[in-house]
Symmetry: D2
Subunit: 364 residues, 4 copies
């Protein structure tokens, strides 16, 4: 059953695959009156674009976006916004030996069983390339959230066994991550992390890491109790990113080592604003924002595309086989995941802002 | 915006609160022909019921279920199944001092800002008592899944700083958890865990822990790529449980310490069945089941209701205040969370079985 | 696939059947703060209740409603409102001869093919009795709409071949329909209509008619262009009522006899308000309300339950058979349909008021 | 709130407007394995395309479709299918005098109030041109339905006061409508109808008519009782077509002149198939198909764009104004509506075939 749409009011539908004509997204439910240009979307796409540093795949896609609909006199007009990016730099011959032999760590085998086919030319719609659609939706969401001062910032806090222990202000994080290719706020650790990634690359191997997302300036009461909690929806959106194997909010798994008296965040009042002294709950209580920053962390697995011969099975006759993946791939997906994680969270937040009535559904 | 329904085809809508007349659920989309009695639901409810051991709240609810609709000649008839449980043992006077002073660690303040009110008599619909609805939905889901041999088992693997390191077979887990109140498969550790919980209870404090969920016998290809991945939907369902602060699948956060060559689960064939030698991916690839057991873990925070005076704020005049919670509460929610986690996962699975066409939508 | 819920934000889920324990509805998405009592719902239920005049079925149900959830301190609290009516006066023995022989004009045969069963004891969930759920949802909708001055009025304009040609003001219609059992504004014609119905009754036959619905005081711009137009959603809601075979808005089918120059409603301004001189469009343009009264008419077929032997088929062996229906039935459903039509429209309108941002989703 | 998507499993999202870069649709939920080419879609688009006869607008659009995604090796692959048509022949200068003066009979005023803007260049997304998206979705639906032998045929039965009284077989209807520009099965009346349309055109006026839709070969039990009845969903889809003011099924409004004994369609068995002797119910009972042809009729209003000066209001200062529409328009939309009506119904049917499990959700 169809699952290429997310959102209840602010609905993002994505389409396209790694080797078709184009990828894109339709955003339905964005109120009229939001200033929006192709450049707004292009900026976000450039952050997830491959080929921008030696840490990413060599596949070089310009990823130029075209807006097909939904804009009138340089503003959204309340009708669906469709934007597309055409595929260009495809080297399909790399993939022929994969035709009946699914790649370990990828969804090939599952696609084959489910749909009776899978696109062996780079994963088809199972490819990370489909997050172009996420980022188109995210760029529009971010623009909408910015009207309310809301920011969403993802930064790398560990790569493999290298972890930053330093705490930075949100402003420093926003600044520092633009100054290194790993997108880590700790500039010294960033250098170490880069070395780890390049070493994995030189060995035809890959590594993972942890990315933290900080959401600032949410109003109190965002999120729907029971089945569409804010943390539930953010967890889903983040887990839906291909490489993510874990999500935690606030103190997360470390919460289990605290007692209730330690964990509970104490209320206080400052400048007539209700705040808490700690933020173990990560800005969310009862599934709703409590006015403190929302803090999430995701576990990103090592990229499954590695070099060398790997054990597989031949799907035509159910016998053991082996494959060798020759395409161009990222030795570590974490830096590029930051753009996708921000987009995925922004889409959830834009939808919840509309659902809770903080944004009018028809016009801003 | 309404959020008391979950599911796309197998839809569960829940209602009721801690101190209203009744709680319940409506299951719409269950195919006709499933044998179902009130006793099937009662058994699952008994597992989450309070007052069954010294580890749980002293609130004593019989929680007898009544099925109002959807059954004809002892089978589901394809129409919505509504089942309710009436509230009985309410001591509302315990809660009066909380009227304008939200409890730390609870959603009171967020409810107040969102809806202009909150039910200070035990949390209202923010109470854990609403999971009666989840369990009604879960019991029906489980019955449906059992036709396909699918089982969902939750067991406690750590309480506070006490963690079992032993590995058990699924059969042993299913057996052992019925033999102790903590619902831990490691019977020695279970005793330690029980002591930790009772110590917290005696101190008016609370503790958390980690619960693991194992899903067995799923067909390959369950889950929808892109926005409704199986891991995404399970993560959401689990994060939606009140006390959960983190969800991981397979190797989870530990994945980040593995390289791609280590992480990738190698395929092999046994008895004409495609399996993998390891299960780092936790049974899910590309958002779809791959035929291996699905393994998830959740971080359960310490219960926020603790004794003693706590810092709060007075919502009428935005000044510092303090409260003392006098109700009856669980010193550790983990044992009872197991029933809710199983139900939450079962609802997701039943829905995905229908969405993927493994179960016919109208009749079994 | 499940279809017992209607609405996108204001969601009404109904359950129950003609011969189960109870029927009811859950309204999810009603904002907090609306004053609501069981009596508000009871009043509307009384209008659709059988046994109130000699024009309706002799089945005598008191139809007393109980609200199970969603009310706190006599107001809605933003959580789902569930209300139920228990079945009492069931004479199941009447229906045994129908077990494998579907009634002509009823959905029995279709239910049987779809679900593998059908409830031969009065139609089960195919019975008109399920509109109790519609009316519960409608009563809550009406209360919410009344805050904005919106009224929904259904009145009978024809029974069989007897049609009123007189035009009445909305106030007169509201007044007059309470003064006769047919619910016709034309008191002279009402007498004729009553005679027609009683004659059909005496012959074991039934008749149909036309009901008009007038919606007053809608804001401009209600309705969603393209796939959820206001007229589209109203048409669907009305066509979903069991006996309805046609829906028209404004000039309806008569529009086809007008030219464009005749049909177009001319704009003018009065007291700074934009109005149209005629209302051929029935208050809806481009799928959105234009500020004029919304006018709809529905064709209600003669009740299919008639006396005498009717040709049927035996579903066990696909051979011709015959049946005789002995239950108690309405000779004309039109008078009772007015309550259901008002409710069905009110639910659509409440949902659209929320969707268009005229009502805040969380609190009024 | 967003409303540019229709369908529960087979989901069609449309986008684009009369004067943007492109229009199109995304179909999500089409199972994998369906043979599909751009030519399949092009054929259907050609039937709704303007400029093909002297009965339609002079606007000449080639309307060439491009499929951007969802096809792999000439078959659908289970991922979303996006297809677009670029706008070319736009004469925007025609529309400048309409900037603040809404056209009578169009949705301009409602769009303005709802979204704070309206596209005065031909209606924007309120234009009939957006039905390109409907037809793209319809073409794919038809292809899917054809695997089950289901056909959907729309034909004109009246134009203004000229109505065919003759009954034709479905085969004759399918054949005859291709032989005249009005798409009427009665070739003699078709000539009269054409004259009526040309006369209206010469007078700068417009006319309406009635279109009948016949759906053949549906399985029994299609449609969901209660809120998503087959007739409810078809009525909504048809009413959503811009010019439609009424929908009826089977005997429709004429049903009100029949008694129950006359109306009830008598069952009989022929070749082991259950049929009815008459088809007053129009192939639908209890909201589900009963195996007889589904027959619907829609009232199509006269096109609102007529020549000459019309009374309007100036939206900047709420004063009376007047406008003259100079664009190119259809004197009668009925012939082109047939393609849109078929598409709209086909989308509903494809979705219901999936919902009822007659088509597998993932692969055919």
């Amino acid at each position: 059953m169809a699952s290429n749409t997310t959102g209840e009011i602010f609905k993002v539908t994505t389409f396209g695959s790694s080797h078709g004509r184009a990828l894109g997204a339709t955003v339905d439910g964005c109120p009229a009156g939001l200033e929006l240009t192709a450049e707004d979307i292009q900026e976000e796409l450039n952050r997830r674009r491959p080929g921008t540093s030696n840490l990413t795949t060599a596949r070089d896609e310009k990823d130029r976006v075209e807006i097909l609909s939904g804009i009138f006199n340089d503003k959204t007009d309340g009708t669906p916004i469709t934007a597309i990016v055409r595929n260009n730099d495809q080297i399909s011959k790399n993939y022929d030996n994969l035709k009946n032999n699914p790649r370990p760590g990828h969804g090939d085998y599952c696609w084959y069983k489910k749909f009776g086919n899978y696109d062996y030319r780079g994963g088809g719609r199972g490819s990370g390339r489909i997050t172009i659609g996420h980022v188109i939706g995210g760029a529009i969401s971010k623009k909408l959230l910015s009207l309310h001062g809301i920011t969403v910032t993802a930064h790398v806090i560990s790569i493999h066994n290298c972890k930053t222990e330093r705490k930075f202000t949100l402003d420093d994080i926003k600044e520092n991550i633009t100054r290194n290719n790993v997108r880590c706020a700790d500039l010294e650790k960033a250098k170490e992390m880069e070395d780890i990634i390049l070493k994995a690359k030189s060995e035809g191997n890959s590594v993972g890491g942890v990315v933290e997302i900080i959401i600032d300036n949410l109003p109190v009461g965002l999120g729907q109790p029971v089945f569409d909690k804010l943390d539930g929806d953010l967890a889903k959106a983040l887990m839906n990113i291909g490489a993510v194997k874990g999500v935690e909010v606030g103190s997360g798994f470390d919460s289990t080592f605290l007692t209730g008296k330690e964990f509970n965040d104490k209320y206080y009042v400052e400048n007539d604003k209700i705040l808490t002294k700690t933020n173990n709950c990560g800005g969310i209580l009862g599934g709703m924002s409590n006015g403190m920053p929302v803090v999430l962390r995701i576990a990103v697995k090592p990229t499954p595309s590695v070099s060398g011969i790997q054990e597989s099975v031949n799907l035509e006759n159910n016998t053991a086989s082996s494959i060798e993946i020759e395409g161009r791939h990222d030795p570590c997906i974490c830096p590029r995941v930051t753009a996708v994680a921000e987009s995925s969270c922004s889409i959830v937040l834009a939808d919840h802002m509309l659902r809770a009535g903080f944004i009018h559904p028809d016009k801003i």
